[in-house]
């Protein structure tokens, strides 16, 4: 079997399958939106009150850094479905029976991931060219200076993102929602924080420090009052700049180039590592360990189960009999659906998940009020993120929509039950802080706490129903949680702890947003039910 053509064919098929989906248009729109943000100065690079003249070198580096930062974060969530798609569609079973090796498979998926991310990079590179014309500060278009940061900074970072996405998909613990949350922190710590803290260029997988150091050196050489500041910011309005200076781009020495190529090689090594973990669509490797009562099932029965046999003697056909349901059997018992949804939401977690949730609850009760309603409540709620992220998308994910949607009066019963189950989880996991606020007579804080408990499931339901997957919620909530509750950003703190004097104002805003999100979820679900 020729390996290279197999890898190419796999990558090509996967890439085509992706780009022919409507969701790919959204991907391109996201890239276009980033390009627009950079071109209009809303996403901007500042060195204190200074910036470089909009030359090809500066614009290329600016847009490449924006692309590297944002596309590596968001792009991961976009591409982390290549292996899962093969699992869901059953194509994986076919591939598993071919001579294709595990390394070839993971390399093919890596190349497809990389190609999708590279298309986004291409859109932004084109936006960079347009930006230089619109900015009109330097009429000279230097394509090499403009494109080199994309080639040497952005693309290796994209290769790393593509490789880590494949690795996460092959690791049972990271292939679901946990991996989506973990990626945010891995990106923030290893991609952004580590190079800054260590100050070492070889520990800079995203290449941000290489560019930043060069720009800061340029500023120091040109502006006497410059004090080594560097920031990439997103703002409503373009920021005011005191002075500009001419920067000639990163001096791409052979060492700097090798370092960036080295990270591309690391990406390939990660893909090879992923092949070692890849289960080759062997469902027994996935299901048998997760069987809660696996120890009680004799191994002979497990083998028969895996082979598709019943493992149980069949009852004779003559014994078939069903008692007719009594006339009063049909009742619109909303509480039963709510209880069923709650059980469905909480099923599938291991004992330690409940242990940690219980520990956080006890800690909320035992800690000082500000810690209880602040970091502890925030941690307790992010701990339950996977409970909420399944809401609204569970029917798509597990192909049960046709079963559920053929039941009577489904929209006004199941969706509210699902939402209330989510609210119940928020109240249960955050009950310690709520109780403390109640005892302290802190009504505004209690209102904010309740608004947060309503926001978390309504946000999940809206995104889940809209997207059919839990990924957008996992990515967005983690980001909001990091910026809001953990970094005490008023307005983004859905626990209410950091909202100070505006706590009631923000609680009202969150309640209004939750109502709108719920209405959106109902609208979308009703459209889905109608448009089948």
């Amino acid at each position: 079997m020729k390996i290279a053509p197999s890898i190419y064919a796999l990558a090509r098929a996967d890439f085509l399958e992706r780009v022919r989906r409507y969701s790919f248009l959204l991907t391109i729109l996201f890239a276009g939106f980033l390009g627009y943000g950079a071109a209009t100065g809303r996403i901007a690079l500042h060195l204190g009150d200074y910036r470089g003249v909009y030359t090809s070198a500066w614009i290329g580096a600016l847009v490449a850094l924006v692309t590297t930062c944002f596309v590596s974060l968001v792009g991961f969530y976009i591409v982390k479905n290549a292996v899962d798609r093969d699992r869901q569609t059953g194509v994986g079973q076919i591939l598993a029976a071919t001579p294709l090796s595990k390394v070839s498979y993971t390399l093919g998926k890596f190349l497809s991931n990389f190609a999708v991310l590279a298309v986004m990079v291409l859109v932004l590179a084109i936006a960079a060219v347009a930006m230089q014309f619109f900015a009109a500060e330097d009429p000279q278009l230097d394509t090499v200076a403009l494109l080199l940061p994309f080639l040497l900074v952005t693309l290796p970072a994209m290769a790393l993102t593509a490789a880590v996405a494949v690795l996460f998909e092959t690791l049972p613990i990271l292939n679901g929602g946990v991996g989506n949350v973990v990626w945010f922190f891995a990106w923030a710590v290893i991609g952004i924080g580590l190079p800054e803290l260590s100050g070492k260029h070889w520990l800079d997988p995203m290449g941000l420090m290489t560019v930043a150091d060069s720009m800061m050196a340029g500023a120091r050489a040109n502006i006497p009052g410059y004090k080594d500041s560097f920031s990439l910011t997103i703002a409503d309005e373009p920021s005011k700049i005191v002075e500009t200076f001419r920067w000639h781009g990163v001096p791409w020495t052979s060492q700097a180039v090798l370092l960036r190529l080295g990270w591309t090689a690391v990406a390939v090594l990660i893909v090879i590592l992923a092949a070692a973990f890849f289960d080759r669509f062997d469902s027994a490797r996935w299901f048998v360990p997760s069987l809660r009562r696996a120890k009680k099932i004799p191994s002979t029965q497990l083998t028969e189960l895996a082979n598709g046999a019943s493992a149980l003697p069949a009852k004779p056909a003559a014994a078939i009999h069903l008692t007719p349901l009594p006339a009063d059997a049909h009742r619109n018992a909303f509480f039963r659906i709510f209880a069923a949804e709650l059980r469905l939401a909480l099923k599938g977690f291991r004992w330690w998940w409940y242990a940690v949730a219980a520990g956080l609850l006890i800690a909320q009760l035992a800690s000082p009020l500000e810690i209880s309603r602040g970091p502890l409540l925030a941690t307790a709620w992010i701990w339950a993120i996977l409970v909420w992220s399944a809401m609204g998308s569970r029917e798509s994910r597990f192909s049960t929509r046709s079963l559920v949607s053929s039941c009577a009066n489904i929209l006004p019963r199941q969706l509210p039950a699902c939402f209330l189950a989510g609210v119940a989880v928020a109240i249960l996991t955050g009950a310690g802080a709520g109780f403390r606020l109640l005892l302290a007579g802190n009504s505004p804080g209690l209102f904010a706490w309740l608004a947060g408990a309503l926001f978390l499931p309504s946000f999940a339901l809206a995104l889940g129903v809209w997207s059919g997957t839990g990924k957008p919620y996992e990515a967005l909530l983690t980001a909001i949680w990091y910026v809001g509750p953990m970094n005490h950003t008023p307005g983004l703190d859905f626990t209410g702890a950091a909202n100070g004097a505006f706590v009631i104002h923000y609680a009202l805003v969150y309640t209004a947003i939750s109502t709108a999100l719920l209405a959106f979820a109902f609208f979308m679900r009703s459209r889905q039910l109608r448009s089948n």
Binding site: W286, F287, S290, L291, R292, R293, I297, L302, L305, A306, N307, G308, A309, S310, A311, L312, A314, K315, A317, A318, I320, H321, L322, T323, P324, L325, P326, D328, A329, H330, R331, N332, A333, R336, I337, A339, A340, E341, R343, L344, K347, G348, R394, F398, S399, T400, S402, L403, V404, S405, S406, C407, A408, N409, I410, R413, Q414, R530, S531, N532
Partner: protein, 298 residues
């Protein structure tokens, strides 16, 4: 109890016509819905199950339009889709309890019902294991159980025996026979023997059109005197296939025994045979293809 389908059509995007003016009226009993792949069987089933809306025409359940008032049917509907999933972390009991709640069945009634159903589909001993560890056939039996949860008056089962072993298929056929007394059962399949065993009426669908709807006896009568067995050398089989509709062949020491459906005696040493439903089904499809060709030529 009556289900009436009036001039039902369904178009999908890309100008694909899945159903064309289908008309059918059903009373209690088992309707076997036969047709080749892509005939529109699943589309019809999904419309009847209120999951998909028709492009035109209507379906009346006891004179009530199910597109206008789907809940009137849903309260008394059991539906087993062709492709469906389960929640892998729930056990069979928990999954059925969930769907019983969604279907609005009281806790007491559903508890007893679920126990009986799990016995019925031979899953009682595996009922507390997570569904994620079930085989395809076991999941299919969970699907059959959920379709019967609410003691439906209209039971729609799409390819229900797919993935079942022969013993389970027989159990399921017997179950359908027992259930059919006071309800309408629609069984979609392309396995003619499944329909032959249980159906009180048969509909044949091809290219979205209803080719026939009759009792098994009526369909068999349509091909009576038109089924023959001819014995030919194996090298003549190809030319026989080109001239006639050959429904089956068997190689024997004296040559190939071919079962032929033809209006007149084929030009070989033919002997008449008792027609089967498979002969009637293939004859209906063949006639439709001939009509299409004639239409295209005209």
């Amino acid at each position: 109890m009556q289900l009436k389908v009036e001039n039902l059509s369904k178009n999908y995007r890309g100008n694909v016509q899945a159903l064309r003016s289908v008309q059918i009226s059903l009373r209690p009993g088992i309707l076997g819905l036969l047709g080749p792949n892509g005939a529109g069987k699943s589309t019809l089933m999904r419309i009847l199950a209120t999951v998909t809306r028709p492009s035109s025409g209507r379906v009346l359940w006891n004179d009530s339009d199910i597109a206008q008032n789907p809940d009137a049917l849903r309260n008394t509907l059991g539906y087993l889709p062709q492709d469906f999933g389960v929640y892998p972390n729930l056990s069979a009991i928990e999954f059925l309890e969930y769907l019983a709640a969604v279907k609005g069945i009281s806790a007491d009634a559903s508890k007893k019902r679920i126990g009986e159903l799990l016995e019925l589909v031979n899953l009682a001993d595996a009922a507390k294991r997570p569904l994620g560890g079930y085989s395809g056939g076991m999941r299919q039996r969970v699907g059959i159980a959920q379709a019967l949860l609410n003691d439906p008056q209209l039971l729609i089962v799409d390819e229900p025996t797919a993935g079942l072993d022969p013993e389970e298929r027989v159990r399921f056929r017997n179950l359908l026979s027992e259930l059919s007394g006071e309800r309408i059962v629609i069984l979609s399949t392309h396995i003619v023997s499944d329909v032959e065993a249980v159906a009180t009426s048969i509909a044949i669908l091809a290219h979205g059109q209803l080719l026939a709807h009759d009792s098994p006896e009526g369909l068999l009568a349509g091909v009576a005197g038109k089924v023959w067995e001819v014995v030919i050398p194996s090298d003549q089989l190809q030319s026989l296939r080109q001239k006639y509709l050959v429904s089956s062949t068997a190689h024997r020491s004296d040559g190939v025994h071919a079962r032929v459906v033809a209006d007149s005696v084929p030009g070989y040493s033919a002997r008449p045979l008792e027609p089967s439903l498979e002969d009637a089904y293939l004859a209906a499809l063949s006639a439709q293809r001939a009509n299409q060709k004639a239409g295209a030529a005209a």
